[in-house]
């Protein structure tokens, strides 16, 4: 059996520049494995070690996601191999497009019974791609998964939902998006990084995949930069805490906030 981990190589918008007309420039923001995806790597590895499954990392995106640094970063985190689709026709692809490509890759890998994903990506932060992937595959999709382990004839799954912790048994193929703190991911050591170079990487061409075409399209009418908010930025030196506190409380009272 195979467990797929869908992960993203992406930059943090914190480091992006937003031009005055609202377009976003990511050129100075460095990409990494998306913040919470290592949680999915770790969970997948633990489950696979108990069942003998293999763990295959899958990522899709524009051409820039396939670098040796990006490959190593993923392969050093407990994967057995990697499958990449990197094509500039996927620049700015929406969650449905990404999920459609991911679904064709999962089908092609074949004997997959579990896809694990992160909570949400660092750049888009919607928590949508994995659940759309479930829809595309016709599989059960669950988010907020805080624990997965092999059990009789399937997987025991726990979910962290507003009312509490739900336990479930999953007996068929499923796509599970993890919580951000389901497990503490291991930090790759020198051995993992060196071992990564020897692991197989398969690069699939977008043309070789039978991806359904988009039926609904978006036409961008305008972009804008949200008003930064006119904050007053009154900064008080706190080296004398009592004086600083009195000054702040006085200011807040004068402003009728207190």
């Amino acid at each position: 059996m195979t467990i797929v981990v869908a992960y993203k190589w992406a930059p943090n918008p914190q480091d992006a520049a937003v031009r005055s007309e609202g377009t976003v420039d990511f050129t100075r923001a460095k990409s990494t494995i998306s913040e919470y995806d290592p949680v999915a790597f770790e969970l997948a590895r633990r489950v696979a070690d108990s069942t003998g499954a293999q763990v295959v990392g899958v990522t899709v995106g524009d051409a820039s996601i396939d670098t040796s640094l990006a490959r190593k970063a993923a392969l050093s985190r407990g994967l057995d191999r990697l499958v990449i689709v990197a094509d500039d026709r996927l620049v700015g692809a929406d969650s449905t497009r990404l999920a459609a490509v991911l679904a064709t890759v999962v089908r092609r890998i074949g004997d997959v019974d579990l896809v694990l994903a992160g909570e949400s990506s660092v750049d888009v932060t919607e928590g949508q791609v994995a659940m759309t992937l479930a829809g595309q595959l016709g599989w059960l999709g669950l988010n907020a998964v805080s624990s997965v382990s092999a059990s009789d004839g399937g997987y025991a799954v726990e979910r962290d939902v507003p009312s509490g912790t739900v336990s479930m048994v999953v007996t068929g193929p499923a796509v599970l998006a993890t919580t951000a703190d389901a497990v503490l991911p291991r930090v790759p050591g020198m051995k993992d990084i060196l071992g990564a170079a020897k692991k197989p990487v398969e690069v699939l061409s977008l043309d070789a995949l039978d991806v359904p075409s988009a039926q609904v399209t978006l036409t961008t009418l305008s972009t804008s930069r949200p008003a930064a908010g006119n904050r007053q930025r009154v900064i008080i030196d706190g080296s004398d805490p009592t004086a600083a506190a009195a000054e702040l409380v006085g200011a807040l009272r004068a402003a009728k906030v207190l």
Partner: protein, 311 residues
């Protein structure tokens, strides 16, 4: 596909749908709801004032609502509405994902405004964690939209019948138990003042410093994500930010919080932001109204004392 001028909402066994109904009415006079889950949920949706309710039937014991996602998607696709709205939380994402996949339509999140332009839908949303805004026209079919679900509505208007639709839920997942949370969820959105703490706090025991200040100022306690999900010192429903609560209190006090994007989008609409941070170059000092550069361990007790003193 030729989408109609109707707007539909999808409900994943969660009766808090006021936000979806209000948004749907912006786009269409008539609103149809597709409800997966218990009959009681379908009845609540009736009470929320929609024009038609399609219900997928009482779930068999142990069936999770997510198992209905393919049925929800098929039902929506058959109706071919111009827009379909669902919750951006929890199982809402699963329903929207199944719909988006079946219709091969983009899922739209972070929506700040919706408009109808003839037979087309215009959607304004914040993108990349809120650093930019984009207005798009949706063409070729259904606009698939994720929104905050809202609240449970008081009964309004005419009660329409609940129409049952045959469903064929997935059988690959079974619920086996629920351990309820010890504490009832907090509604930070209702608080006028919120006092939040971040990784500047060194130990869980030191939380007393922060709760003392929150008490003195009459505010609710909140936190940045690492305190809720890294160390579990504070309940997750008190996390402020893109993955937590988005609030607009009159006063927000951020203590030992660096001010990163994913946190600050949660308080963008606060009237006044106060920051206490030992690093004078912390990002938050560019995004606050008042800041004290200092050690929270000395500044916070001083603030609590200053609040106790009469003006």
């Amino acid at each position: 596909m030729n989408a109609s001028s109707q707007t539909w909402i999808v409900v994943a066994d969660d009766p808090a749908v006021s936000g979806l109904v209000v948004a749907a009415r912006i786009l269409s006079a008539e609103v149809t709801a597709v409800v997966a889950g218990r009959r009681a949920t379908a009845e609540s949706v009736v009470a929320a004032g929609v024009d038609r309710v399609l219900w997928l039937g009482e779930p068999a014991e142990g069936t999770p609502v997510e198992a209905y996602a393919p049925d929800v998607a098929r039902t929506v696709a058959a109706g071919a509405p111009g827009a379909v709205l669902g919750s951006s939380e929890g199982a809402g994402r699963v329903m929207l994902g199944a719909i988006a996949a079946l219709l091969q339509a983009p899922g739209l999140s972070g929506v700040t405004a919706l408009e109808r332009d003839g037979n087309q839908i215009g959607v304004t949303r914040s993108v990349f964690g809120g650093i930019a805004e984009r207005r798009d026209l949706v063409t070729g079919g259904t606009a698939v939209i994720a929104l905050a679900g809202g609240e449970i509505s008081d009964p309004t208007g005419l009660a329409v019948p609940v129409e049952e639709v045959t469903a064929n839920a997935l059988t690959t997942g079974r619920l086996t138990g629920l351990r309820p949370k010890e504490k009832a969820p907090v509604n930070l959105r209702a608080a006028r003042t919120v006092v939040a703490v971040g990784r500047g706090l060194k130990a869980k025991d030191d939380l007393a410093l922060i709760t003392d200040l929150a008490d003195a100022i009459g505010g609710e306690l909140a936190c940045s994500r690492p305190l809720a999900e890294g160390v579990h010192w504070i309940a997750k429903d008190r996390n402020i930010g893109i993955s937590g609560q988005q609030i607009a209190p009159e006063l927000y006090v951020a203590i030992g919080i660096s001010g990163q994007l994913q946190h600050m989008v949660g308080v963008r609409d606060a009237d006044v932001i106060v920051a206490v941070n030992s690093d004078k170059d912390a990002l938050i000092f560019k995004q606050c109204d008042y800041g004290i550069v200092g050690d929270l361990y000395t500044v916070v007790p001083a603030l609590t004392a200053a609040l106790a003193a009469k003006p």
